[in-house]
Subunit: 276 residues, 3 copies
């Protein structure tokens, strides 16, 4: 636990000092929030759509963020080209399988990504269970559980799926909910805090994935996913105390991401369970 | 009038309790604001671009929002597929004919939608008159009146066009302006309030369409359009009193959407005229 | 200098009075901020993607803003059609060559634009040097200097490239950095102020390009670029004094754009150097 906390402090400070770029292919609804949260924690953002641009950025970056929230026709080429490139790169790339199960191209793309497994997968409980099912892993569920972008399942119900995915990818899986769960298949970290307002702004989850990718440029997948989740829970709780509505909440939330120190983030309430 | 007010209270409260999803195909400029306003009033947002995804969401939703503000090539397929699907569904879908008259694909799409008429049409006066003209209905005007996204005409000048469109669709038409006008062809509701700042933020109209779609999941088209217009006029007036610029206005406006109660919304100044 | 200050006051006031439309093709990350800043200074925004829509707006507008931040497949047609149309129009159009050097279509498009040279080019130092190199002009540099959207070079290092570009286009070039530099090849204006927060919000540069386009509807390219840069430096400095994080900074920044008077903008610290 102390070791994890030290790594969190280090990750927060390294990002603030190094201003690392974490490129993204992400949805058009929340693309601005993804960039602004990445910048608020100290990273740099770059978003692309075209195949050759995605490959070019993957080749110079230390991580990459893919969020399939709004599928576009060009992704048929872009995601194939990116996956092929990722096979030859040792990149801490992050996948957010938003709304897995809706549409042929989304399903095709999420199956393709299995060939170059992401080092961090972030989603709500229903998405994690559905992706696990789509990939044919133990603990997975039928994709029909997913309703648009919202979860129908509790975080703890997705534990088996998260463990399966983490063991398959060799990376980490973060399940967002009231108490967030992050696992690498060996340990389970539960992070508390957050705010009920996080469901009243669009992109809380999407931007968490983008911030995971920022931390993944400077540390291992588990630490990156825990650090991102912790800074989100801390900033959301601090923001909620200041505001009376969802508009001012988003503003205060970004402010608190910007202001949080490494010690703040490591000190946010969490538990660590070592699996047998 | 009392009946309308009771239905407004009910709509506001039902949405806050049920968190209904209102899927959208909407422009990239204001897509984030559309989602955040839909969430602020208690709904859930889901945006798509591809034909099969649009059809899939239409089949599980109770309403749908289409805003043609930024046309993309894929819409040539998506809007045809969606229109065909809508013919077989009894959906309270909402159309915002932004900038009608600019571009071949926009004109083609807006003509196509006539085959499965929207239950709510929302636009500024020039757009309502131009759509009425495009559809060959009485009271319509030449599309050349539209200048980009801005209106050249007063709300009352669009009354005949609004009545024609409402009688053709069997739904409601909402014309945005200084005093907003909503009609189902039998009654005319005029809603007051609002703020001069609404013209200084992008997406006031677009997001009103998205909020119409949220209320249209729980009530009839006229009540949905009036409720959305009323909560906008109330929240804008309350926000204006708190701020000194257009940046903080948008934040306060979303806060006030989040905070408004059913009684607040029903009690905002409006008049009801029954047509002979 | 007094003449320039008088033209700045005039430009700020003309825009507030006339509400001129400045259409854009701009990236999806910051498209909302571009529109909101254009509205905050008194202009009107309209964003498009399709070839015929771009040409239609260019034909009725007095300026046009092109930002290549996020390339899309349709731009292969749109940018060719727009360039051909611009050849026959006397338009004060503005180019932001974001991330020049990444991707084939971006390179092709930026080369194409040389055929109808923009009247204002806005970029960071690395982008200005790289565009100058791409166009084969003196003072240019290899495109490999550009890292995503961030600059690796100081503003003054880009002076020769800025002069070359300005002399080639017959317009103005604005280089953004700690002290901003604007030149028309005959004079060099340096504008001070701003805020360290401008690097912590996405779109400070993109939206500056959009505001350049708004002012370019009412004045000459040099005055437009200086006015936009001055209002940005003024609003950013004023906003920084009010806030404690990057979220509230963006809100206050838009407020201050909305509130600034012509005298405020002309009076922001700047120097004018006449070249021999």
């Amino acid at each position: 636990m102390e070791d994890l906390m030290a790594r969190i402090v280090q990750a927060v400070e390294d990002v603030r000092r190094e201003n690392p770029m974490a490129p993204s292919i992400t949805n058009t609804v929340t693309i601005n929030l993804v960039a602004n949260t990445q910048l608020a924690v100290g990273g740099s953002a770059a978003m692309v759509y075209l195949p050759d641009e995605a490959v070019a950025l993957a080749q110079v970056a230390k991580s990459f963020y893919v969020n399939v929230g709004t599928m576009l026709p060009v992704y048929e080429e872009t995601f194939v080209a990116l996956t092929e490139a990722l096979k030859g790169l040792d990149l801490n790339w992050v996948l957010d399988p938003v709304a897995v199960g809706i549409g042929k191209l989304r399903t095709f793309s999420l199956l393709k990504f299995k060939e170059a497994p992401p080092k961090i997968i972030r989603g709500n409980a229903s998405e994690i269970m559905a992706l696990c099912g789509l990939w044919g892993l133990e603990g997975g569920e039928d994709q029909s559980r997913v309703r648009g972008v919202d979860s129908r399942d509790s975080v703890e119900a997705a534990l088996d799926a998260a463990l399966s995915l983490a063991r398959f990818t060799g990376g980490a899986v973060a399940v967002s909910g009231v108490v967030d769960l992050i696992t690498d298949g060996k340990v389970v970290v539960r992070s508390r805090g957050g705010s009920h307002f996080m469901e009243k702004i669009t992109g809380a989850g999407c931007s968490l994935g983008g911030v995971c990718a920022v931390y993944a440029t400077v540390t291992d997948p588990l630490t990156a996913a825990v650090t991102a989740t912790q800074i989100y829970n801390l900033a959301a709780a601090r923001a909620e105390a200041q505001v009376a509505g969802s508009g001012s909440f988003q503003v205060a939330f970004i402010d608190e991401l910007y202001r949080a120190t490494g010690e703040d983030v490591a000190g946010n309430e969490m538990t660590l369970e070592v699996l047998k």
